[in-house]
Symmetry: C2
DNA sequence: ACATGTGAACTGCTTCACAGCG
DNA sequence: CGCTGTGAAGCAGTTCACATGT
């Protein structure tokens, strides 16, 4: 969608090229923190849009999202100019642009690997569909679970996973398997050509550079809390 | 727990003492990223300790944790010097120090608020107890759930929550309630004096500065993935 | 000779401050 | 005049490189 970087293929005078390189709004490299905030802005926009607001400002978004107005404007500036000076932003327009930027225009097919407690909870989670995510497959290797229903779909044998991924059945996988099996499943998914994985397995995973992996590690979050509790001095 | 600073007890020349003062392991202000990595290092140490390793190096930890040896040493240096030059680190010693730093020496009483799908899954999650966390209470406001068993404890009415927190029954709360109720519960917990909250509610929450809040937002994580999928160029 | 511990350099995110435009 | 958009300054986290100690 965004061009990686073809500015140097055509004619390009040495030094100037380097300069021009940094200006255009292609995805140079957007910080993860920025993307997170875009999600936050969007959820507020949807909220106030539902309440009938038609206009908002970087100040509003900052207050609601726990950041600063300069940060909001800077975040948005990576992708274009969506506001009107002196007035602010059109709520419908901005939310639409953000949905587009975040890739929520298309609908994404998601599979959940692991039908244990967490996998089951996720497969029933209604919040997904509200935002372009559709769980169209659940996998487990436990014969006792295979064939059972889970959130509207039937649990399939994990041995089918690679074939299904290769067939293009999913764009995103959510891992809810024990730490021991996680890397094996990841490798399977990668072999099948999947490019986006969200893992709940409490272990460090490795993927090739062209695959995006996000990990949610409960233990790590809790340890962040106990660290703060244990070392609370004058800090937060 | 940490020695504040006994470097000045022995001989210590005036100015030098002031200088040395800023080095010692008090918690100046440790970056969240550092704490996360400490968790990772610890989990590897426990793994290789179980396999019988007695010594390791910053290089080993870096390779396993997906970072650099300099980063490992820098992270540890905020808390002291745990290694031996030319040799590396003692596995048992370092893991013990990390447990201490992360506050895993004590055992923490945790309550889960919200006995829906996610709350229930969490209350059954065995991974907690492995690491000093004990779920000793589960709360919900739905009469149909109150009194039922959930992961070894009985679901209590949320109306008891503030009293129980005030009584010191918990040090940590995990929120698994709908976005609409989340801030209300947070306020209740804060009023009761709780200082550490882990929220799974997909909404922005506000807490006083002396309360630590971590939020895990599924929607946000998924949007991070779709952003990457949509804007994949030469970037990761 | 080897691996730690750490100031110094560097990179990149955030904040500032103001020009630009409705 | 108000609020956006954005270079420039500031700051925080990471990486470098080497002195230090075994």
């Amino acid at each position: 969608m965004f061009q990686p970087d073809d500015c140097c293929s055509p004619v390009c005078t040495s030094l100037t090229c380097e300069e021009i390189h940094k200006l255009p709004p292609d995805v140079k490299r957007i910080a993860e923190s920025t993307v997170r905030r875009l999600s936050i802005y969007l959820s507020f926009l949807e909220e106030i849009e539902a309440r009938g607001a038609v206009t908002t400002s970087s100040d509003d978004l900052a207050r609601l999202g726990g950041t600063t107005s300069a940060q909001v404007r800077k975040d948005l500036s990576f992708f274009g100019s969506f506001g009107k000076r002196g007035l602010g932003y059109s709520v419908p327009e901005l939310s639409s642009r953000l949905r587009e930027i975040l890739g929520l225009g298309s609908q994404w097919k998601v599979c959940i690997v692991g039908a244990g407690k967490i996998g089951a909870a996720l497969s029933h989670y209604a919040g997904f569909a509200e935002r372009s995510f559709f769980v169209t497959g659940v996998y487990d290797s436990d014969p006792a679970k295979i064939g059972k229903a889970a959130g509207g779909v039937t649990v399939r044998d994990t041995s089918h996973l690679e074939r299904d991924v290769t067939a293009g059945d999913y764009q995103i996988a959510i891992l809810a398997v024990p730490a021991e099996n996680a890397q094996l499943i990841v490798d399977t998914l990668v072999r099948g050509g999947l490019k986006a994985i969200l893992s709940f397995a409490p272990t460090q995973l490795t993927v090739p550079a062209d695959v995006t992996l996000r990990t949610v590690n409960m233990a790590m979050e809790l340890e962040g809390l106990t660290f703060a509790l244990t070392n609370r001095g004058t800090d937060r």
